[in-house]
């Protein structure tokens, strides 16, 4: 997909042929995410829906940076695919501590806006569900990232090209799925 000088129709068809299947496939996976979201019962917790884009986006960014840092570390040799957990310990710690902190901050900011604009928001419920989701999905995505980088390395594929978009899309689905789970748990308990 490297741009060539003097484009023309041939180059455009190549773009279409390469990008269209990927975009369509990723779109379909996202629809699965959307359908889980529709049926997750978020209506039961007022104000939760407002946090969902931010939650998904934090997840995507933190997991994506972790994955791409792993990829760089692998290239530099400080990440050993033969002993994945040992050599990525610090990254794991940072990512796991960062997510709930960021999420809690966002929820508090959102609550501030809610108060300001007179919008109703169930602060405790939203905080609990969002923080729990972010901790759980961080752990899941971190292990997924490590596994993907190891696999792509063993297959001789450059992790930078493949892992990040995959982690982003799977990350969206995983996050929403876990969110739905915690919403259900909350509804059952309270």
């Amino acid at each position: 997909m490297i741009p060539q000088k003097g484009g023309g129709t041939l180059n455009k068809l190549k773009f279409l042929k390469e990008a269209l299947p990927v975009l369509t496939l990723l779109g379909i996976i996202e629809v699965l995410t959307g359908s889980v979201l529709s049926r997750s019962g978020f209506h039961g917790i007022s104000g939760l829906i407002a946090l969902i884009p931010a939650l998904i986006s934090i997840r995507g960014n933190v997991a994506g940076s972790f994955a791409s840092r792993l990829g760089s570390m692998a290239h530099l040799g400080s990440f050993d695919p033969m002993h994945p957990l040992k050599t990525s310990k610090d990254g794991i710690l940072a990512a796991v501590l960062l997510s709930p902190g960021l999420s809690a901050f966002i929820v508090i900011a959102a609550y501030g806006f809610a108060l300001l604009f007179g919008v109703s928001m169930n602060f405790i419920a939203v905080l609990a569900v969002v923080v729990l989701t972010s901790i759980t999905s961080s752990i899941v995505l971190i292990f997924l990232s490590i596994y993907s980088v190891v696999v792509s390395f063993k297959m001789g594929v450059d992790p930078d090209n493949v892992v990040t978009p995959i982690i982003a899309t799977i990350g969206d689905f995983t996050t929403v799925f876990i969110l739905a789970g915690y919403i259900a748990l909350w509804e059952v308990l309270f």
Binding site: I2, G7, G60
Partner: protein, 168 residues
């Protein structure tokens, strides 16, 4: 940037009652956001690579830039239209009520995609050019910014389309 996401969330919140009646529209929010993010990332990466290897000059009117914009826009639009047509049948099978005529469904998605892609593709190009001139990394800068704006635009464009098509 998180504030932009919160703004998008706030918009979703005010549309909450609409989504209760139109769960199918909520179901496509992640898809439209992902489309915006992915097309933005593709256009941004291609322009960044082009700038680095020298086949693109750092001017917005460079023909390669325009070509990438057009193709990004068209490919994204095509991808989502194909999916949208299939989804009209598939979503109800998955248990998500459609509550919309095919014409309304298609109009909402088409208008929304045009708005989103029309904003995100030029934005991706501009950010790539700026990032290149300032020596910023495309992965750390361009893609996160484009995804975040794309998410907000995705939600906003759906809100606009729903209003224009006259559902809400």
């Amino acid at each position: 940037m998180m504030l932009i996401e919160l703004a998008g969330g706030g918009l979703l919140n005010s549309l909450e009652t609409v989504f209760l009646y139109l769960p199918a529209v909520l179901a496509i929010v992640p898809m439209i956001n992902a489309l915006a993010g992915n097309v933005g990332a593709i256009v941004g990466s291609r322009i960044s690579s082009g700038l680095h290897i020298g086949s693109i000059r750092p001017e917005p009117l460079d023909p390669e830039v325009r070509e990438n914009l057009e193709m990004g826009f068209l490919t994204g639009l095509l991808a989502i239209l194909i999916t949208a047509i299939a989804l009209y049948l598939i979503l109800p099978i998955m248990g998500i009520r459609m509550n919309l005529s095919f014409a309304d469904w298609l109009s909402i998605i088409t208008l929304s995609s045009i708005l989103v892609l029309g904003t995100v593709t030029p934005l991706a190009a501009i950010i790539s050019l700026v990032a290149f001139k300032k020596g910023l990394s495309p992965n750390d800068f361009t893609i996160p910014v484009v995804s975040t704006v794309g998410d907000f635009m995705g939600i906003l464009s759906l809100a606009i389309s729903i209003t224009v098509v006259g559902i809400a």
